[in-house]
Amino acid sequence: MTTHEGTVLTAADLAGNGLHGNDPDIHGKFGVFGGRYVPEALIPALDEVAAEYDKAKNDVAFLREFDHLLRTYAGRPTTLTEVPRFAEQAGGARIILKREDLTHTGAHKINNVLGQALLTKRLGKTRVIAETGAGQHGVATATAAALLGLECVIYMGAVDCERQALNVARMKLLGATVVPVTNGSQTLKDAINEAFRDWVANVDRTHYLFGTIAGPHPFPEIVRDFARIIGVEARRQMLELTGRLPDAIAAAVGGGSNAIGIFHAFLGDEGVQLHGYEAGGRGLESGEHALTLTEGSVGVLHGSRTYVLQDEEGQTVESHSISAGLDYPGVGPEHAWLKDTGRATYHGITDAEAMEAFSLLARTEGIIPAIESSHALAGALKLGRELGPEATILVNLSGRGDKDMGTAMKYFNL
């Protein structure tokens, strides 16, 4: 796809595969991570999705359609915004935001969703299901389902339904059925369990539109490729704006899709540090956190070998975060691999640090970020102080904070 005028996406952009030596093998393994640990009943469906995706990513018509939706519906390319007043708190380092908050529906999730919704059509399926934590992936899925005429069911932990009530209303307005999940921790992990249960029973007409780069192969690869546009754009835009690549990139890590989305195009750029920020919740000592990569151990969760918060007998330990989107005890296998190879570094940001960055960005720059993204902002503040005033830091502002007003009102007594 070399001559598509005005495109934001080329086949090479989408299929990051093979370009950076960071592909899963045929079993979906990134080193020892990834793979498939699912009931046999789902294997044919996963094979079908993988085969159709392999065809789609090399099909110019598919790429054109995806590209068209990204530009005319999702609002790509998203701009970069430099935030000097915010950066004063970062020791004077330059901080530049990649504005995924400006996409349609307000978070980076729309990129993956549009790609997979088109894939659903190619698979000949008429129904999509999805899990959601913050509700952003659910809203994006409900949106794409409305656009493409697909039936849509969203599984959401009952606790998350409450703290992201606005997004529940949005999904309903968009025509989706929202099913509150009341078992386990009643958050994202349990919503994923419930979505898998639905999928295995309805797989003949249903695509599981997975929302992050976790889960069984091929989801980590597909979701990454559809999110990859964030970094592809940002790399070009940084060169235009600053004449060089950033010294470091900061992104929040829940399941890991926005982080891999911005990291991936920079993997080959050795001079660019990659930093992921997980939810430190009430702090490591409190035991109430979602520090999967930084404090977890290797295990299997939701069909994939990766870092997991688990006890010594392999029972999943419940995570905690003020942000529903980061409240997950697992993480995508590619991040596990990037951690172990040392290419990326992962850190924790507490609820309090994230909320401070949340209000600081609002007051200094007039941008209200998602609480998830605020973890990356808080990370950038620390990173700036470490790297010094000469450094340039690119932050993935993965989403906007409208959905978080309820939490903010409580937290700040607004």
Binding site: A41, P44, R197, V200, G314
Partner: protein, 264 residues
Amino acid sequence: MTTLQTVFAKAKADGRAALIGYLPAGFPSKEGAIAVATAMVDAGCDVIEIGLPYSDPLMDGPTIQDAVHRALTNGTRIADVLRTVEGVAKTGAATLVMTYWNPIDRYGAERFAGDLANAGGVGTITPDLTPEEAGPWREASAGAGIDTVFLVAPSSTEARIKAVVDSCTGFVYAASLMGVTGARDSVGAAAQGLVERTRSHTSLPVCVGLGVGTGRQAAEVAGYADGVIVGSAFIRRVLDAPDEASGLASVRELGAELAAGVRG
């Protein structure tokens, strides 16, 4: 210790299917589980699968989720699972552990296989372990002399069925339908075809599970399979009983009905 091979040879000689019952360790309590499983054996179960309670049972429906949640809430750990196996194996039933993969992965494959064999267990059923990932577990199990049972499903292609049965020893678990565990009004229509397809790839016994809960269904499945697997229906009897004694009586009653069913 009764092996799976002994069980299926005997059932075959009797001209019937084997009856296989499932119950999570720790449900309704740590001691109660041994009592319920013993009642299942008394009533006619040839094989007992002891479930290892896991926090994220994504293949299970509401009934087993509920039982597992209770087991975890009352503090059931792997040591309790092994103790339950030991207690149940003493009844003379061939006793297996059914578990998601992560608890074994974390405990250590060799250690788990060894401890299970020592407790009198004869093998495992691992529903989320596919042939691609099963190498280390098959090796550890072979080392400890226990069987490895894996699942085929109605959606399985011929190539998948072949790969799965090649990893199995003891028997092959055929999931009767596309879905999670739980008793249903009718056994999946796909079950018989799946059993026939599976038989063309193996001489191992093929047992059918998911959705079986009555004597009539057991008889139907026994018409084409070597074993009938019942889990949720037993658990439901315990959950619905007002007290322990009537729960045990109800379990015995269902067990007898199913045992008559597998005898056609």
